[in-house]
């Protein structure tokens, strides 16, 4: 029986052909005065291995998770159609890295069904790690002083209190905000009533029922930018392998296959980079523009140190 540590190591070695080497990395690295924002991208069909490589390109999981840390993982895992949920190979790779880095407790911020993990061929090898995952539905009320439309939110206590918060979304089409990725995934860590307020603000509930969830996309976009002020991820791992390009977010619809795993240190940078796969310009996306106005993301991709094949 091969143990997890050896298994993860062997995966990296097995996929060494697609690891971005130092010279290639430099060739595709755009540096600027700011080294605050880092992003690594690996393209290929071995999503588990490529997730390990992308995080290694940022310095490895031990850069983010220290021995004894608690980790909160926020995975987009609620839907069933192809291209609508984060590939579980990617989530399992992140989980394996966190365990290897010495995480004391790993929490799922959003409940995860057995069906979700069963979609991965890696489940058998990592079954005990999956069984060790914890979930709590405890929430806390968070004041968002700098929020423009959202001043308070009820958010998962795990998300707010864990030592390391890892956001693991899929980039895909979305009927309201045009795309969903890291920043919108944060709604998965919010209570139902907060999600309603993110959509509608403080206007009366009955009226909202008839207006629809996307009756005010500007408010929705601003609120998403606001809620990300509560806590930003320490690490983002974005699934851009097989993604839904139409009929989002639930599908089924047109699938695109960029086969890319993206790791980033900043949620805005991750979204700015990933939206290209939907044929969108990030300049046109309100969620990104409002996040930039809050000042927690790069103003341009030139401000991001990108390591890509």
């Amino acid at each position: 029986m091969i143990d997890r540590r050896k298994f993860v190591k062997s995966c990296v070695v097995a996929g060494a052909g697609v690891i971005v080497g130092p010279s290639l990395s430099r060739a595709f690295t755009r540096t600027s005065d700011s080294t605050k924002f880092e992003l690594a991208s690996v393209v290929g069909d071995r999503y588990f291995e490529n997730t390990l490589k992308a995080v290694n390109e940022l310095g490895g999981m031990q850069k983010f998770v220290r021995k004894g840390n608690t980790v909160g993982m926020l995975i987009n895992n609620t839907m069933d159609n192809a291209g609508t949920f984060t590939n579980p190979d990617i989530s399992l790779a992140v989980l394996a890295m966190c365990v290897d880095a010495g995480a004391r407790q790993i929490f799922m911020i959003h409940p995860t069904s057995r069906r979700y993990w069963q979609r991965s061929a890696f489940l058998e090898k990592l079954r005990s790690e999956v069984e060790g995952l914890q979930y709590s539905d405890e929430t806390i009320d968070v004041k968002i002083d700098r929020g423009k439309s959202l001043k308070t939110a009820t958010i998962s206590k795990c998300l707010m209190t864990c030592d390391v918060f890892i956001n693991i979304p899929i980039i895909k089409d979305h009927k309201g905000t045009k795309y969903t990725c890291t920043m919108k995934n944060m709604m998965g860590g919010c209570s139902g009533s907060s999600c309603q307020r993110i959509h509608f603000g403080d206007s009366p509930g009955l009226l909202n029922m008839f207006k629809g969830y996307y009756s005010n996309v500007e408010l929705l976009s601003q609120s998403i930018a606001d809620v990300n002020l509560a806590r930003q991820p320490d690490l983002c791992v974005v699934d851009a392998t097989v993604i839904l390009a139409t009929n989002g977010p639930s599908g089924p619809g047109e699938l695109r296959t960029p086969r890319e795993v993206i790791a980033a240190t900043n949620c805005v940078a991750a979204d700015m980079y990933a939206t290209r796969h939907l044929g969108l310009n990030w300049e046109d996306l309100l969620v990104i523009r409002y996040a930039q106005q809050h000042g927690y993301g790069p103003r341009s991709l030139k401000d991001v140190q990108i390591k890509a094949e």
Binding site: K175, T180, G212, Y213, Y214, P252
Partner: protein
């Protein structure tokens, strides 16, 4: 505007599930899930609004596993009326659809089939697009088709579209449906009760209907003002009752009010857009 239909007590969609004898080695995973009214948000939070806009009653979701761990997801939506089912299908079926003889409108794609029939919109999607999965997508879709009753007519507004060279059409009941017509991003087009969009080789036509001519006129005036102040449009002018502007991608958009309708035409050239718009407005009066 969103619509909920009152659900008859105790009537679920479970009886529509294909019987096990037609499913070969495919087995239902867990039990099928059902969602009524606002519960749809629990199933497709973020995707439910479109169904609500058209008029939603209830949905059923089931998952089948094949012997090689392939998965087929089945979703059956009971809508408020045939127009709602037809409308949802029309905006979701996509551009690359291959027509199929299932239900009253069906399209096959690499990994899914969707169709509508009567009050129902159905999607069957696979975890991959292997021939085995595709074969069973069709088996399941046809089995459900056999259990559903059809309706006689398409939404009557559909008749306004000329069938000549029509590539695709979409039936609209609100802003989300309208936003699916990718050529249109005009702000202020609100309050209409229904519409239909037709895509032709060199232009797109959209008819939107209000409850009366006064309401349509009010919206037409609002859109005129909005277009003038919207930085995404330029050269906004009104000539002989036709409002014309050029959008960011360089295409020309023409709008005209005719009775309780507003007609929009979009084309790459001014003359095609204007002629299409005026002809469409004439067709309403006739």
């Amino acid at each position: 505007m969103m619509h909920w239909a009152v659900q008859e007590q105790g009537v679920t969609l479970l009886h529509l599930l294909p019987r096990s004898e037609v499913l070969g080695e495919w087995a239902l995973t867990d039990s099928a899930r059902t969602y009524q009214g606002r519960d749809l948000y629990l199933f497709i939070d973020g995707g439910a609004d479109l169904f609500m806009e058209y008029g939603f009653r209830q949905a059923l979701a089931a998952e089948y596993h094949g012997h090689r761990n392939e998965v087929i997801n089945l979703e059956i939506y009971e809508m408020a009326d045939p127009g709602a089912a037809c409308g949802v299908y029309s905006v979701r079926c996509g551009d690359d659809a291959i027509p199929m003889d299932i239900g009253q409108g069906a399209s096959g794609h690499s990994y899914y089939i969707m169709f509508w029939k009567g009050n129902y919109y159905v999607s069957v999607s696979g975890s991959d697009s292997t021939p085995e999965v595709r074969k069973w997508l069709e088996v399941i879709a046809r089995a459900i088709d056999r259990t559903l009753a059809g309706s006689e007519h398409l939404p009557s507004i559909h008749r306004l579209l000329s069938n000549e060279n029509l590539l695709k059409w979409e039936y609209i009941r609100g802003s989300l449906g309208l936003s699916s017509v990718d050529v249109i991003d005009v702000r202020g087009l609100e309050g209409f009760s229904e519409g239909v969009a037709g895509t032709y080789k060199d232009h797109t036509i959209v008819y939107l209907r209000w409850s009366g001519s006064k309401e349509a006129a009010r919206c037409f005036d609002d859109v005129g003002r909005t277009l003038k102040s919207d930085a995404r449009f330029r050269n906004s002018t009104v000539r002989n009752g036709t409002l014309t502007a050029v959008e960011a991608r360089g295409r020309v958009i023409c709008l005209r009010q005719s009775e309780s309708y507003i007609v929009l035409a979009v084309a790459s050239g001014d003359s095609v857009a204007r002629a299409s718009c005026e002809e469409a407005a004439r067709s309403i009066r006739e």
